[in-house]
Symmetry: C2
Subunit: 704 residues, 2 copies
């Protein structure tokens, strides 16, 4: 059976990549539009490419350094020799996912704008196809890399199950490191350009958004591509791969003694492959008649994702039954719990951030008494919105952990290990249909950019209206996407903590899952430090955005002053200069936060030992989950409250209320697009670093 | 020896109360000033009294209800019969502390303003004397109640050490419940009035702060008294009593097997008594020459607190040596660690929030690009400022836990229990000189009010300048005070978690400190829920301030419209109406957050069992500590950035930068004066409720 399973995984990966290629061809088959549109699109594309090239150069230097460090550790016997190579490939493919997604997005921007000249539905098709390229590239590359490493380790190097998962977790660390660079760097770039362009353009000079006279306008659009697209691609590649690998590792730990280590390891991979098939089928349901309204479009998108989710929910049952045998079928409920939890967290996000519901409407109302009250209201809303996801994740964990062991009573398996495998399976269940959920998520920035191009190339107002409709639809799907990203991050992080303890147990078998009581002061201090890390990380990324934006402000102001005839539209601004400013400052600023995420777990381990590390990981997961939801939802609600006012409520565009809401939105920008999403990666990277450096910490530590 | 120790504690308490009476007489011996000042002061006093009466009526109903519930539980054998009575007395005395402090503050306000007509130093003496009344009333009442309950339980009812500490922990729960009501209710009142008065008065009508034409101006001053004074009094009574009681409980647990339970229990009480003596001595060092400048005044205050701290640091060593014998003297290092940690956290707060240092100066600079950037900057600053206190507390816990057991190796005592007792002693060490630190803290609101009275009664501008100088001095000492409050809350909460586990151990001796591994899913889910609670709590209190402020805004606007001649100073506004509005809304809003703090631990226990409860307590302590520091420091920095601009930097008063800074300050108001300080109480109340309802949870729970 073994080889068939491996082939099945491989086939799933190739299918996804093929589908991505077909979708890419489809996107490219559309017309680019007018010469002006082409020219603008080219500027955006070249700016984005230039940035990515510089980013990847810096990241490559980091990876080279880490490679040397890991090789030295391997030479001292603290790691196997697979580790350095796995680390580098993880980083490479994570970066590649972001690159491909961004490439196609920059080709789809003007095509979407042009398609919107014909109609809303055609625009959706182009943008959604571009999103699909990204979605299926991420899952295809992810699964391909997993299956290649797996084949190499198992059939070429003859590693046992534990050896395989150990090397593959390092692969995950590479992916997470790359993802953090991409998210933080891209997130700073996009928000610095956005905030900078708005502050001088909209507020000081009084010209509309995306006005071609604004020198930062191209940088703003480049930012959408390098942050919201390339950053998201690398990010979700990391989530996808991380959840599969950590689940495999726990499967081996739980089932090896039963002689079923291989099967348990394969299940998450096969579920991922099956998820790809379900996602591809789902995309065919994203269709509407030519004259569709916005509401019907949302329904079309939801139909696709819902159908895929139902398909995988049905298919997972026979899968688990078939591979693990009838005794362990209850693990299916763990998968189901994860799937449902992901959907529910998405719904909760939607409730708190969409202007169709009370919270955001009430928030918009607070603009009546000025910016201070809308800020207080948004912060309160975000903090309050953490409660529901916590309860949802709590219930999902309870089900995933306890139900399998209750229903398999009598089976000769450690119930804690079975339960932890269940938690990891819940994360995989949540992400199994990532292909299509990411497609519906990634199309948003494409639509956003299309709007920018429509504005800059002076297309008819109804084109901009259509791209705006697509964009605001994208906000809703992005909310759902965030639910999956945050929820899976928490579950994967828990699975990784368990893997860490397994690894320590392998070196010191007196250490078990029960060894980490919160009343052990080392665990407790670790918990405090871990809980603090997301706060510090969020602070650093927010302040980085502030500093970078300030440099853009200064540049834009000076161009307005120096370039004669700019305001009259007689002279062109120096777009490239702003792109360069953003690149330079975001690349400089992305380094410190990432280094902290890598260095702190090692330092904590060297001082507080592995007790401190486990405490730190638990603390970081809990506080990171909360902070990520808080920041994402506050930011989303401010954004939509502003849009709600712009739609004519509470005084509408240009009123004092609108100005107050713009302040809220500006504060929310780094919240939701820089700090919030980076925290998801942070909490996993902390665990992966801890796992890779476990042997070092076990051998050298001050306390414990 | 026993009886002498008890007498010593009793004497300490009486000394403190006597000193408070002397200070009160001294305050009252000063002149009240002009008729106008007297009249204004009377209005403030009667408003504050009226509010407190209504608040205490509501709280009394709550206590009556809880009393019945606790009696029912006692009737079912789930509690001893001491519990309901201890609960009620704790609440009573906590409320009394707030009441006395507020009473004297309302008498000292106009006297301070009047004294400032003569000079800065005389003003300081009046305000500081009033602060001393509060400080020594809190510690005196606290220690008196502890010693009375102790005497009753031990000598009248012949309870053993465990029985005594158990009843006294309930006493703590009563104090914490009262404190939470006082802090939340008072905090909402003061900020609703403040924000409401500013939004309409300063921003819309363009009249200066504290202008008598503003209908909310009296409510604003009443708010300072009921929130910053009465709320703080109840709060710190709770902190003081909580730290002593929880330390006593752990002392019994650790030393009972050695036959030294009584001694270990007495140590924190005796240290508190000793701290009172040291504090009284310290107050005599708060003196300067008649012509002192502001800098010298700060030195005078610091001299007093520093001298007291050094005294207790010296005296604690022979105390421990004498009572516990030469083997256990290393517990002294725990006390020292706590004392030093408190000072260092205060210094860290000062660094991040005082405009003498870089962070706040840089924050003020961000006003140049508008309110959004100053908000982002302040949030970042607050989040970043959590790192240092976490490290400080971490080191203090390491020392307090490990040093005693390292140095007493060979002694026949459980090292974990010894270490936990050490952590609790660190908290007591931190709070031992509360008498004087609270005096320097509580004088701030008195000076603030004096400024208001000076403004309203049209005194010479130099009087207002002097009260402003006193007020800004108060901001610095308040920062130090906050360090002690937050730090001791974290340590006390940890001690209470240990007490909780001891209690569970008493009912089920398979449960030990080692039973609560973070990989137990019940502990883990509890951890997530606990970490979420401070977020939800902060959100609720912030939104309550928003709603209450909105009602004040509407009232003030309508008075400006309806009352003819108000703006010309020909007619008086209806001050009482605004006071009434604030009272009503703050009393309504204080109930939900407090109920949540009491109900959630019980519900979590009934579902997730005591494993879930311990996880919840650990999570709430970590995230509450972080959130409290974040919110306090962001708020403090915004406040001082505004003051820095008002002092003439970045455009000065009335500039656009100043307006941006005012937005920051308004956001910071509920941060630092409502949500932040309440979280300190919350994390302890959660533990105390858990302890009181432990028997219920052990008997009935769904999981575990």
């Amino acid at each position: 059976m073994e080889k068939y399973l491996v082939i099945f995984i491989f086939v799933g990966a190739v299918l996804a990549l093929l589908f991505a290629v077909i979708m890419a061809k489809r996107v490219l088959s559309f017309d680019e539009g007018t010469e002006k549109m082409k020219k603008i699109s080219r500027s955006i594309r070249s700016g984005a490419n230039a940035y990515l090239k510089r980013q990847y150069t810096i990241v490559a230097a980091f990876f080279a350094g880490m490679f040397v460090i890991l090789c030295v550790m391997a030479a001292f016997g603290l790691l196997t020799w697979f580790v350095p190579f796995a680390f580098v490939t993880g980083g490479f493919f994570s970066g590649l996912s972001g690159f491909v997604g961004m490439k196609i997005a920059t080709f789809a921007n003007d095509r979407t704008a042009n398609a919107c000249r014909t109609g809303l539905n055609k625009g959706l098709r182009v943008a959604f196809s571009a999103g699909s390229v990204m979605g299926f590239t991420v899952v295809g590359l992810g699964l391909l890399d997993i299956s290649i490493w797996f084949t190499l380790l198992k059939y070429v190097f003859n590693q046992d199950a534990a050896g395989i998962t150990s090397a593959m977790l390092t692969f995950g660390m590479g992916a997470s490191s790359m993802a953090l660079f991409a998210r933080v760097g891209g997130g700073i770039f996009t928000k610095a350009a956005d905030v900078g362009a708005d502050l001088v353009g909209k507020v000081e000079a009084g010209i509309p958004e995306d006005d071609p006279r604004n020198p930062a306008v191209i940088a703003d659009n480049v930012g959408d591509n390098v942050g919201d697209v390339a950053g998201m691609g690398a990010d979700l590649y990391e989530s996808y791969v991380g959840s599969v690998i950590s689940c495999s590792a726990l499967g081996v730990a739980a089932f090896n003694s039963q002689g079923m280590g291989f099967q348990a390891m394969a299940i998450p991979m096969i579920m991922a492959a099956l998820g790809i098939v379900c996602s591809i089928i789902g995309t065919f349901f994203v269709r509407t008649g030519e004259k569709a309204e916005q509401k019907l479009l949302l329904k079309a998108l939801s139909r696709g994702t819902n159908f895929s989710a139902i398909l995988i929910a049905v298919a997972a049952f026979p899968l688990i039954w078939f591979i693990l045998g009838s005794s362990y079928y209850p693990l299916y409920f763990a998968v189901l719990a994860g799937l449902v939890a992901g959907v529910l967290i998405g719904k909760s996000t939607e409730y708190f951030t969409s202007d169709s519901y009370k919270p955001t409407k009430k928030l918009a109302e607070k603009s009546e008494t000025g910016s201070a009250t809308i800020i207080i209201g948004g912060l309160g809303l975000g903090m309050l919105s953490t409660a529901l996801p916590i309860v949802i994740i709590g219930i999902a964990v309870l089900i995933a952990f306890f139900v399998p062991s209750w229903l398999t009573q009598g089976a000769d398996i450690n119930s804690t290990q079975l339960g932890l495998y269940g938690i990891a399976l819940a994360a995989v269940g949540m992400l199994s249909t990532l292909g299509i959920t990411l497609a519906t998520d990634a199309y948003g920035p494409v639509a956003d950019n299309a709007g920018g191009i429509a504005e800059m190339s002076g297309l008819e107002p109804e084109v901009r209206e259509r791209t705006d409709a697509l964009d605001s639809l994208g906000n809703t799907t992005a909310a759902t996407g965030k639910g999956f990203a945050i929820g899976s991050a928490a579950l994967t992080a828990l699975a990784l903590i368990a893997s860490y303890i397994d690894k320590i147990h392998g070196m010191d078998n007196t250490v078990t899952y029960d060894s980490f009581s919160v009343m052990n002061p080392l665990v407790l201090i670790g918990l405090f430090i871990g809980a603090c890390l997301p706060f510090v990380f969020a602070a650093l990324t927010m302040e980085a955005v502030g500093r970078a934006a300030q440099s853009v402000v200064i540049e834009v102001r000076s161009q307005f002053k120096k370039i004669k005839g700019l305001m009259e539209g007689k002279a062109d601004p120096d777009y490239a200069k702003c792109v360069d400013m953003c690149s330079r400052s975001s690349l400089k600023e992305m380094i410190l936060p990432t280094i902290i995420a890598i260095v702190v777990p090692i330092v904590v381990g060297l001082i507080l030992g592995f007790y401190g590390v486990v405490g730190m990981l638990a603390g970081a997961t809990a506080s990171g989950f909360l902070l990520a939801i808080f920041m994402s939802n506050s930011g989303g609600a401010w954004d939509n409250a502003k849009k709600y006012i712009e739609a004519g409520h509470h005084g509408g565009k240009g009123s004092d209320q609108h100005k107050a809401a713009v302040v809220g939105d500006t504060v929310g920008d780094p919240f939701k697009d820089t700090s919030g999403p980076s925290i998801n990666i942070l909490i996993k990277l902390l665990s992966m670093v801890s796992i890779v450096f476990a042997a070092l910490v076990v051998n050298f530590h001050l306390f414990g």
